[in-house]
């Protein structure tokens, strides 16, 4: 799913692709469309990959684990959207607006972060730099597309089935239990559920742990305490976050708004307005709104939305590649 977006982003941003070689790791996509041409996407050809200047991985962790380190060792730039190497100390985990400085000509394997964390990483940074974040609490509202194509098709099917059944009376409530689910852990049409990934012994889901660990790495702030509740909602694309950021010092809401309005890659809504997944879908920036004090003057509360398939994945990967071009480490 991210692969299709990646091709559209490369086209739209006129990335200097001399030749595109699409490969398919699974059974699903056998051809892709790029610059108005249909290209076959056969199974992976190791030697052809090794001859590339740059390889994007937009597949499962196992595929990246098997292929990415070998390619990087042979000098190929590899930008990996899987979670396989994100916490590897030898691998830069990069959001260009946040930590392009982590890039290095000698570290050719580069990871892009979890799609839920990206919005928080971009929107929280200017506040962290100004006042020093000590604690973060985040509740997410995550789109079904983040769970993959099968989950999305399950959502569409449940929605079609429900649209004829939607009822309100309590004695009819059991009809809501009708939709079957297999790609997702619970029905998603007309529902929300607090599970993205499996749970660890402490009760946190893998998604919640990824957001915490990856944010600490991208901000180079290992001491920040973070607690996340990751929730799937019946939205097609666009992850939203309700975030509480606690600081070392008292903060100013007005100054926070000024910092956010100037931040790179971020669009701040005017007061009284806010972004939504629908308003952010298909767009590149991270969006923020509803900036206000939290439980006291050392805390800010904000609402963050970004397109999980774009800034959360494909666009971020292309922005990393553009940064490599800009530095002359990769040549057009």
């Amino acid at each position: 799913m991210v692969g299709g977006e990646l091709l559209r982003v490369l086209e739209a941003r006129r990335f200097p692709v001399a030749r595109l070689l699409p490969y398919s790791s699974g059974a699903s996509r056998k051809s892709v469309s790029f610059r108005h041409r249909r290209l076959a996407a056969p199974g992976v050809d190791h030697s052809a990959l090794a001859a590339c200047d740059l390889v994007f991985f937009v597949s499962a962790d196992e595929v990246s684990e098997r292929l990415a380190p070998g390619l990087a060792a042979r000098g190929v730039w590899v930008i990996d959207d899987s979670s396989a190497f994100r916490l590897d100390k030898r691998v830069p985990l990069v959001i260009p607006e946040v930590n392009a400085s982590a890039l290095s000509p000698s570290r050719r394997l580069i990871a892009g972060p979890n799609c839920t964390m990206t919005g928080l990483g971009v929107a929280g940074l200017p506040l962290h730099r100004r006042w020093g974040v000590t604690e973060i609490r985040v509740a997410s509202y995550q789109a079904v597309s983040g769970a993959g194509k099968a989950a999305l098709e399950e959502f569409f099917a449940q929605n079609r089935a429900l649209s004829g059944l939607l009822a309100l009376k309590s004695e009819q409530a059991p009809v809501f239990n009708a939709p079957r689910n297999s790609a997702l852990p619970a029905p998603i049409a007309c529902n929300v559920f607090p599970q993205v990934g499996g749970f660890d012994a402490a009760g946190y889901s893998s998604e919640e742990n990824k957001v915490a660990a990856e944010l600490r790495k991208v901000w180079a702030a290992p001491g920040i305490k973070i607690s996340v509740t990751a929730v799937r909602v019946p939205v097609v694309r666009g992850h939203s976050l309700a975030a509480w950021l606690r600081f070392e010092r008292p903060v100013s809401v007005a100054q926070a708004r000024r910092l956010l309005s100037k931040a790179h890659g971020l669009e701040l809504s005017p007061e009284g307005r806010y972004p939504t997944p629908l308003s952010a879908a298909g767009r590149g920036p991270v969006y923020a709104g509803r900036v206000r004090a939290g439980v006291d003057s050392r805390e800010l509360c904000l609402w963050i939305v970004s397109d999980n398939l774009l800034k959360g994945a494909a666009l971020n990967s292309v922005q990393i590649a553009e940064e490599l071009l800009r530095r002359g480490w990769l040549r057009a």
Copy 2:
């Protein structure tokens, strides 16, 4: 909408109604069904109301403001589901499992709380009693039925319109902007938005302020710091909450689970499982799950779901009336 639920709850719990007199404050509902009989619901008749033993208000604030105090002054028990008197110091705001002790034979006007707060009020109380809550942060996932019938019909219409249009590609994203909205402040099908009510100068919505103020009153804990982000989600019924409760002392997750599993009116999911709006719809209890430590050992994080039309409104009102019967202040 709550009115229809109220009648079903009175039937299902065999509340000793000798005679039911339904009145309609608006233009919408002109008759109701009760115990298999159709009853006309004409405009309000003051003298007939004053002759009742008990009057439930499930209408707008203005209707309660106009009628409820006069009835209570004449000795009629009044249970008001509007927000008109909830913060009035002379009016008990009651969740029977939490603060039935606030009821008094001399205070005949009784308010039921905001539907978003109820789940937190019930689920958080045993933890507050044990360790002393100092701070609360809550992100809500609120069903459309909480916004009334017109909002729900808008949601259904948008959902029908979208089910033929659902698309994933970013260049097709603008189709999601198609659904029109008038009852709600933004499109709700395949969307979420962080606005329930209007915003105050500090940036908080009226719903967020209600949850904070009413929880402090129901718990008789005016010093608790509370920050809420209230978000509407495309769910028909069932409000969910991601809550962080901070305590005076270090807490134990295992002990918290034991306290919650014994709490009155609460059902705790087994570890690794959780309630959802679909699983809670049409049911009376408050449901909780995913109990775990928050940012440190002085904080607990939990997921709470309750049916906003039942425990959040109609059922709570009937439970208050049952408590009056139990005490002999109201006679069958």
